[in-house]
Each structure stands twice: as C-alpha cells, then as structure tokens.
C-alpha cells in the first residue's frame, strides 16, 4: 500500500496522474506531513542527480504545497482545478522518476553486490562484552546535545582517513554548535 502511494507520488511530480488521481493524492499529501517530506526528498535527489542544485536550496517547497492545499476546498474541488495547481509542483520536479530510482537504490544497495556476497564468519571473539543488541539505535536514543559537538569535532580528527566523511554528519544534521557545557 505504502509502495503504491510512493509510486503515485513519483507519478504526481512526473505529471502522469489523471485528474481524479491527482485530486485524491493531493488531499492525502495535504493531510500527511510524511508524504510531503517524501515529495521533497524525491525532488531533492532528482535535482542533485542532475546537478541542478542552486548554491542555496530551499527544501520547504512541500510546505508551500501544503499551504496552497489548505487554501483549496479540496473535497469539493473539481479535478480540473487540481490539475492546474499540480502543474507548478510538477514543474519543480525535473524527473521524479530518477529520484525514485535513487531512493530505491539508496535503500537497497546492500542487496546488490556486484559479484559474490561475502560470508561473515562466526565471531572468533568473546561475545559477553556487549550488554545490548546493536542492530538498531535503541529506544531512547536522541540527537546529540549541543555540548557534544566539541567532543565530536575533536574525535573526528582521530578517526582513520576517509576524508571529510566524518564531518558530513556535522553538516548534515540540523544541530547547534556550542563550546559550553
């Protein structure tokens, strides 16, 4: 069901939905912030892949869509009016199809080893060290508080060389930097 919805999102920015489908989907987008965020991501990936990113990028366009939708009497609007409103949204998306592919590939890279898949040998080391499962961040994990940033920056300089990759986290997270405790 979710997958179908995501495919419809892609079709929306590709301007490939008929008027009735557009109307239905836009109502769903208007009521679902996660869908709006997904729409923004599709657009972002598309732009990034095509090198169309401006020096500064406003990714809040989905909120604009939301605001526009709120102004619309969505339930009673005729399909043709929706179709008119969809155009600017679609215009923002150069090729959502690419974006969707990128999302799919980002989420599935682990399964597409180009040749043989390595087999993990059983751990030859003692297993009694860990006290918790490590598969996913445990419940209660939260974003780093401000005072942690000084530690993180300092720690990055001791990591093995993968270029600026460790700093990608600092830049990629909406965070504060504060040298005070």
């Amino acid at each position: 069901m979710k997958q179908k919805l995501h495919e419809q999102l892609s079709a929306l920015v590709d301007d490939e939905l008929d008027a009735a489908e557009q109307a239905l989907l836009l109502r769903q987008i208007g009521a679902d912030s996660l869908l709006r965020q997904r729409l923004a991501r599709y657009q972002l990936i598309s732009d990034a892949l095509q090198n169309h990113l401006p020096p500064r990028l406003d990714v809040g366009f989905h909120n604009t869509v939301h605001a526009a939708l709120q102004d619309e009497p969505a339930i009673h609007v005729e399909p043709s009016r929706f179709a008119g409103m969809v155009k600017p949204v679609a215009g923002l998306a150069v090729a959502a199809s690419v974006a969707v592919v990128a999302v799919l590939s980002l989420q599935s890279v682990r399964t597409e080893a180009p040749s043989s898949t390595p087999v993990v040998a059983s751990a030859p080391v003692a297993q009694d060290y860990l006290r918790a499962e490590t598969k996913a961040p445990p419940a209660g994990t939260r974003q780093a508080p401000q005072s942690l940033n000084a530690y993180l920056v300092n720690h990055n300089e001791y990591a093995v060389n993968r270029g600026m990759l460790p700093y990608v986290r600092l830049v990629g997270h909406e965070m504060n930097v504060d040298g005070t405790q």
């Binding site: 180009p114 920056v153 300092n154 600092l170 990629g172």
Partner: protein
C-alpha cells in the same frame, strides 16, 4: 504501478546520472594497478588526501536525505577543504592543516578545533592480520556508479562491536564515489553518493572561502589557544576496565575542549578501523550533565556521570559499544 514503468525509470536514471558527472583522471602517477582490497583502500585514502576535487553528493541517514558540496585542494602548502550543506541551514566546515572551523548558522556560532594529520586507512597498514579476527576485507568486484566504473570493497564486521563499510572506488583515479556504512546484519545506516564530481580542475581560492564571515556569531575555540600537544606522557587517571575485542588504546591526551572548562582526559581506542574516544572531564558546578545515549547518524555517544566527572564516549561504532565502554570507565587506583 506497472513494472514496465519502473524499468523506464531505471533507463532514465542511467542516462541522467551519467550526465552531470565530469571526471578528469589525474592520477596517472598512481601506483601499479592495485591487486588487493587493501591496496584499493590505501589508494582511496591517498586520493582523498592528494587530489583536487569539487563535488556534490547526497548523504542519506535515518530516512533523511541531505545534499552537500565538498571542495578539496592539495598543494605543497598542505590540504584545504570546505564542506557545505546545500539544503537547510547553510552549515559549513572548513579544514586545513591547522584548524577545523565549523560554522553553524542555526544558532549563530562558530567552533574552531585543531586539526591533526590524517591517519592512514586502515590505521595499522603494516598489521593487516590484526584486523582479520574482527573484519573481513573483500574485493567484491566491479560496479558502475554514475556511469563510472568502480571497484567495490567490502569490510564486513565479524561481531556486533563495530560497523561494516562498503566503498565504491573509481577505477581510474581511486576517488570514493559512493560509501555505505551498515550494521553487522547489513542494514544500511548511512550512505553517501556523489552526483557530480570534478577531479583535477584548478580550485579557485574563492571556492575554499566560507560563505559566511561569522561576524556577529559566538566563537568557541578548543584548546584555549595552545597547540594540540603530543601524546601526554604517563598513564591516564581513568581507564576502561574491559575493552571490546580488538580495541587498544592508541592515544592519550589532556586538553581543554570547552571554553572556560576543565581539562579533559582524552583516551583514543581503535581496532585499526573504528575509533572510539573516551573523554573524562570534571563537571563544572553549574553545568548540566549529559547522560544516556545520543547519536548523529552512525556516530554514537554515551554520557555518564562518575565521581563528579562527565564521562563521554564517542565513536563510529554501534550504540551498545559506546554504552558498554562508558559503563566500564573507572578511576585508576593511585
């Protein structure tokens, strides 16, 4: 949605992705064609450090996607790098051989830390055997990224104490075009993929200048103006009673990390790939302690308070690893 449509997407993507990536091989003097996974990693590490490049990439984590740009210049004078966000707040990190400057418009602050010479990758190149009980290094063949041929190198952890890595390395210039960090069960945690990259072009000086001056911002400088000293002599006052298998202490320093704060004891532990820092710092009277788990992508941190000291363990390792280490910190007997 019809399957044929997905196929159409794939075809479209393969065409579009190729277009923006403009690469100019400039690594003609590279070593002989590498033959092992290890050599690919060594070459990648060297390329990241020694080539001039300007690229745009996407960073995927926790279901979110960010676009960033990186500019890197290597010259006789040293390395200069600039990393900036293209989405959201205009966060930037600038790094050269002396300092790391983080400009965060979110709260109008700038933090300046001291940079250190880059550690080779892996950290113990002459001692590969010491890694093998904990990781499996494997060349898993070739793959195309953005229309370019890459060699894919996997580093798979053999236990839950550490993460796995997969690198897509350009076969002509050894640049890293795609990177994935995953849990031991293969679940991706972070991914980075270049969408446009120029290698070897001259980097204009302006491209390495910050877009923000930091004027009117609060500035925080680590180290209190002093240089990052050589490894501190003697034994640290604190220790981790039991380490995850394969980890050993590789560095120990005392340093001031927070403006006006006490000197922190900093112990660095590594298994040759993953690095974990343990900081122990006297809690200031009016400061708020950091306790529990926190994360920034795959970077996990755990805070605890022990004998009026703030213990903070930070590392690109699973949450349970930093948590266990933090809980095993204790003061050495005099």
């Amino acid at each position: 949605m019809a399957r044929s449509k997905i196929v159409k997407w794939l075809l479209l993507a393969s065409l579009v992705v190729v277009a923006p990536v403009s690469l100019q091989a400039s690594f003609a003097e590279a070593d002989a064609p590498p033959g092992s996974a290890r050599q690919w990693l060594d070459n990648m590490s060297r390329s990241l450090q020694s080539l001039d490049y300007d690229g745009t990439f996407v960073y995927y984590h926790d279901g979110k996607l960010e676009a960033m740009r990186i500019v890197h210049q290597a010259s006789a004078a040293g390395e200069k790098e600039r990393l900036m966000s293209l989405t959201g707040s205009a966060r930037e990190v600038l790094r050269d051989d002396k300092a790391v400057t983080c400009i965060m418009p979110d709260n109008k602050s700038v933090m300046v830390g001291q940079s250190r010479p880059r550690q080779p990758f892996p950290d113990v190149p002459e001692d590969l055997d010491s890694l093998s009980p904990y990781y499996q290094l494997q060349d898993v063949g070739e793959d195309r990224v953005a229309g370019l041929m890459t060699r894919v190198i996997d580093i798979t952890p053999r236990d839950n104490y550490r993460y796995g890595y997969r690198f897509w390395i350009d076969t002509t210039n050894f640049m890293l075009l795609k990177f994935e960090l995953s849990a031991v069960d293969g679940t991706p945690i972070e991914q980075v993929m270049f969408t446009g990259l120029r290698v070897g072009d001259q980097i204009p000086a302006a491209a390495l200048e910050p877009s923000l001056t930091g004027e009117g911002y609060n500035w925080f400088r680590q180290g209190g103006g002093g240089g990052d000293p050589a490894a501190t002599q003697g034994q640290p006052d604190w220790s981790v009673k039991q380490l995850p298998a394969g980890f050993r202490m590789t560095d120990y320093r005392r340093k001031r990390l927070h403006h006006g704060g006490e000197q922190a004891e900093h112990m660095v532990f590594s298994d040759g790939l993953a690095t974990v820092s343990v900081y122990v710092e006297k809690l200031a009277a009016n400061s708020k302690a950091f306790t529990g788990l926190s994360n920034m992508g795959a970077m996990n941190a755990y805070g605890a308070v022990l004998d009026e000291h703030q213990v903070t363990v930070v590392g690109e390792v699973p949450a349970a690893t930093v948590q266990s280490m933090a809980q095993l910190v204790s003061k050495r007997s005099p």
